[in-house]
C-alpha cells in the first residue's frame, strides 16, 4: 500500500458543509467546511468521538443527505449536485456503504440471496436467474460464506457472518469506492480481526478504495494509509496514519491518542492522559494548513511555525 508515483485522487471533498436546520435557531453544523481527498486504492480513516460529524461526512458523500455547501468530486466529476435518476443510479453503483449495525442493516424478512442480489436486480446486472444465482454464490464465497447460506434468513447468522453478508451486498454492484461506517464496532474482538482481514483482502483483489469511519483508533491506524481526525464538525488533522499516530500535533489529536487503552499493563501504568481544552475564540481565521509534506493541521496562519517546530521536536525525540 505504499504509494508509488502520484496516484489518482478518486474522491476529492472540498469545503463540505452539512448543516441541519440551516438558518434556524436550532441550526447544527454537523460538518463544517471539511476538505480532504482519497487516492485510488487507499484506505482513508476518519476518527473522532461520537457526535463529531464523521458518520455525517460519510453519509453526505454517498448522498444520504443533501450537502448544504461544498463540492464532492468522484473521479473528477462533482457528485454533490448530481440530479436525475440515471446519474444517481450510476453513482450508487460506484459508491457503496457498509453499515455499523449488522443486526439492523439487513432486512429480516428477506433471504440472504435476495439481500445480496437487490443491487444486481436494480441495476439489471444479471442476464438470467441462473446468472443471478451464480453471482450471489460467487459473492458468498468471496466473503467467506457458504453458498448453502443463500436461502437462509439474517437471524440465522452471527454478528460477524451478518457483517460478511453486508460486505457481499456492497460488492454486488462492483463498486470502486466503499464507505465503511464503523463496520467492526459491534463485533467481538476475535471476530473484528476476521472482518478487517477480509476487507483488506478484498481491497487487494478488487483494487477498492475505502473510507473507514471508526472511533477505535488502534484499529483505524492498522487498516488506514492516511487518517483524518475530526472534532466538532471540523477536520483538525490529516496525515499518513504513521505520522498522525506517532507525531500527532493538534492538541485534540494528542488528547485522543493519550486516551486509547492498549493491552499492555506496563504501558497503561505509565500512560499520562492529556485533556483537551478548546482554545478561546480569538477571531482568527483557521483552516487546514500543510505543516509538513502531506501533514495538515487546522490552524491560523501565524500558528504554522509553532506547529512546524513542534513536529521537529517530536521527531527528534
Amino acid at each position: 500500500m505504499n504509494q508509488v508515483a502520484m496516484p489518482n485522487k478518486l474522491l476529492d471533498v472540498q469545503n463540505l458543509k452539512q448543516y441541519f436546520h440551516p438558518g434556524q435557531e436550532n441550526e447544527v453544523r454537523a460538518v463544517d467546511n471539511v476538505s480532504f481527498h482519497i487516492y485510488e486504492g487507499e484506505t482513508f480513516g476518519l476518527v473522532g468521538e461520537s457526535g463529531c460529524g464523521k458518520s455525517t461526512t460519510g453519509r453526505s458523500i454517498i448522498r444520504l443527505y443533501h450537502p448544504t455547501d461544498g463540492e464532492i468530486y468522484f473521479n473528477g466529476e462533482d457528485i454533490s449536485k448530481l440530479k436525475g435518476k440515471k446519474n444517481m443510479q450510476q453513482f450508487r453503483r460506484d459508491i457503496q456503504m457498509i453499515y455499523q449495525d449488522p443486526y439492523a442493516s439487513l432486512n429480516p424478512r428477506m433471504k440472504v440471496q435476495d439481500i445480496i442480489a437487490e443491487g444486481i436486480d436494480i441495476h439489471g446486472l444479471a442476464e438470467s436467474d441462473a446468472d443471478r444465482n451464480q453471482q450471489v454464490n460467487d459473492l458468498l464465497e468471496l466473503v467467506g460464506l457458504d453458498k448453502s447460506h443463500a436461502t437462509r434468513y439474517p437471524h440465522e447468522f452471527s454478528g460477524g457472518q451478518r457483517q460478511r453478508i453486508g460486505i457481499a451486498r456492497a460488492l454486488a454492484v462492483q463498486p470502486r469506492f466503499i464507505i465503511c461506517d464503523e463496520p467492526i464496532s459491534a463485533l467481538d474482538v476475535s471476530i473484528q480481526a476476521q472482518v478487517v482481514n477480509l476487507l483488506q483482502e478484498l481491497q487487494r483483489k478488487k483494487n477498492l478504495t475505502y473510507l473507514f469511519i471508526a472511533h477505535d483508533l488502534s484499529m483505524v491506524k492498522y487498516i488506514s494509509d492516511r487518517i483524518g481526525v475530526m472534532h466538532f464538525g471540523k477536520l483538525v488533522e490529516v496525515g499518513t496514519s504513521e505520522e498522525v499516530y506517532r507525531f500527532g500535533l493538534h492538541p485534540y489529536t494528542e488528547s485522543l491518542l493519550s486516551a486509547i487503552p492498549l493491552p499492555d499493563p506496563d504501558y497503561e501504568r505509565n500512560r499520562r492522559r492529556v485533556t483537551y481544552q478548546a482554545p478561546k475564540e480569538d477571531g482568527k481565521e483557521r483552516s487546514l494548513k500543510e505543516i509538513a509534506s502531506g501533514h495538515y493541521i487546522y490552524c491560523s496562519d501565524d500558528e504554522v511555525p509553532f506547529y512546524q517546530k513542534k513536529l521537529e521536536q517530536k521527531k527528534r525525540q
Binding site: 476475535s190 476476521q194 483488506q200 486516551a259 487503552p261 499493563p265 504501558y267 497503561e268 500512560r271 483537551y276
Partner: protein, 351 residues
C-alpha cells in the same frame, strides 16, 4: 489478603424453546478485599451471567444447577429474594453497561442516588440527599447542588454513567460489579470514568469485578484477570501473567488479534470460526474447533487447571507433563520475552 467472595463450581443453565443452554459450566474464582478482578471474554462466554448470578438477578428461565457463592461465609445461592434485597445495593452493588437505560427517566437524580441509602439505612430524607450531593460531587458532576433536581435526559452519556456509579457507591458496598461500564462511551470519557473508579476504590477500599471484552481497559484496571470461554474460566492470573505470560491458546488468540503500536504491516491474526453453541457444548475443550494448537485429547476430555505459578492457572492440555512443546504466535513470543526481562524467569519453551 482477605478473601471476600468465593465462587465454587457454579453451573447455570437456561431453558429455551430450542432446549437447555448450559451457559455456565463449572466456574470457580475468588475475590480478595480491595482488588480489581477483570473477567474478559466474548459475548456469550458467560461473564455477565456469572456476575448476575452473584446478584441473583437471573431471568426466570435461568437455573443455578450446582455450586456455591460464598459471601462473608454465607451461601448466596440459597438466599431468599427478601434476604437478597438487603444485600443488593448495600453490600454488593452493580454498574450496568448502558447508562441510557439503567436510570429511571421519571425520577430526579438526587432522589435516585439517595434511594438506596433510604432503603438500606435509617436516615432522614434530608440526610440522604446530603450524602447524595456529596457523592455526586465526588464523581465529578459540576454544579451538583443545582443539578440534584435534574432528570437523566438533561445529562450527557458520560455524566449519566457517573450518576450510575454514584448510585452504586452510596452505601459503600464491599463488592462493586461493573458490567462493561465504559463500552457505550467514547475513549476520552472512558478514560475519565476508569480513573474515577480507581480513585474511589482507593478511598473506600471496595473490591471490583470488572467485566469487559476490551483488553486495553483490562490492562489498565485489573490486578488479576480471568479469561472466560464457552461458559468456563480457561485462564486466570495476575495482570502481568495474563498479558506477558499467557498459556491458553485462546488467550494467545485474543492478544494477537489486537493491533499494537509495535506491530508491523503484516496481516492481523484472526481466531478462525465462531464461539461454541452452548445448547450442545463440545465434549472436550470448548475451544478445540478453533484451536490450531489442539491436541487429540482436547476432543475427548476437557482439560483441568494446570498451575503455572501460585497465582496463575490455565486450563489447557498443552501444560500437561507429557504434552508436546509448541511455539506460540509471534506476538506472544514477544510478550514472553518481555516477561523474561521483567522477572528473570527463563522461558524454556522459547529455546
Amino acid at each position: 489478603m482477605k478473601k471476600i467472595l468465593e465462587v465454587d463450581d457454579l453451573h447455570i443453565s437456561f431453558d429455551t424453546f430450542a432446549g437447555k443452554v448450559q451457559a455456565i459450566r463449572g466456574v470457580s474464582f475468588d475475590l480478595y478485599k480491595g482488588e480489581t478482578l477483570a473477567i474478559v471474554g466474548e459475548s456469550g462466554s458467560g461473564k455477565s451471567v456469572t456476575t448476575r448470578t452473584i446478584m441473583r438477578l437471573l431471568a426466570n428461565n435461568g437455573h443455578i444447577d450446582q455450586g456455591k457463592i460464598l459471601f462473608k461465609g454465607e451461601d448466596l445461592v440459597h438466599k431468599t429474594e427478601r434476604e437478597m434485597q438487603k444485600i443488593r445495593g448495600k453490600e454488593i452493588a452493580m454498574i450496568f453497561q448502558d447508562p441510557m437505560t439503567s436510570l429511571d427517566p421519571t425520577m430526579n437524580i438526587g432522589n435516585q442516588v439517595a434511594e438506596s441509602l433510604r432503603k438500606h439505612k435509617k436516615v432522614s430524607k434530608k440526610e440522604a440527599l446530603a450524602s447524595a450531593l456529596e457523592l455526586l460531587k465526588l464523581v465529578g458532576i459540576p454544579n451538583a447542588e443545582q443539578r440534584l433536581k435534574n432528570y437523566p435526559h438533561q445529562f450527557s452519556g458520560g455524566q449519566r454513567q457517573r450518576i450510575v456509579i454514584a448510585i452504586a457507591l452510596i452505601c459503600y458496598p464491599e463488592i462493586l460489579i461493573a458490567d462493561e461500564p465504559t463500552t457505550a462511551l467514547d475513549v476520552t470519557i472512558q478514560a475519565q470514568i476508569i480513573e474515577l473508579m480507581k480513585e474511589i476504590q482507593q478511598k473506600i477500599q471496595t473490591s471490583i469485578i470488572f467485566i469487559t471484552h476490551d483488553l486495553g481497559v483490562v490492562a489498565n484496571v485489573a490486578d488479576r484477570v480471568a479469561v472466560m470461554y464457552g461458559g468456563r474460566i480457561i485462564e486466570v492470573g495476575t495482570s502481568d501473567e495474563i498479558f506477558y505470560h499467557p498459556q491458553h491458546p485462546y488467550t494467545w488468540g485474543l492478544l494477537s488479534s489486537m493491533p499494537t503500536l509495535e506491530m508491523e504491516e503484516n496481516e492481523l491474526y484472526a481466531i478462525p470460526g465462531s464461539p461454541p453453541d452452548l445448547l450442545d457444548p463440545p465434549k472436550g475443550d470448548a475451544f478445540y474447533p478453533r484451536n490450531e494448537y489442539a491436541l487429540k485429547i482436547d476432543t475427548l476430555e476437557a482439560p483441568p487447571f494446570f498451575e503455572v505459578s501460585p497465582t496463575h492457572q490455565a486450563a489447557t492440555w498443552l501444560l500437561a507433563p507429557h504434552a508436546p512443546k509448541v511455539t506460540p504466535p509471534k506476538e506472544i513470543v514477544r510478550r514472553w520475552r518481555l516477561y523474561e526481562q521483567k522477572t528473570g524467569l527463563k522461558q524454556t519453551a522459547l529455546n
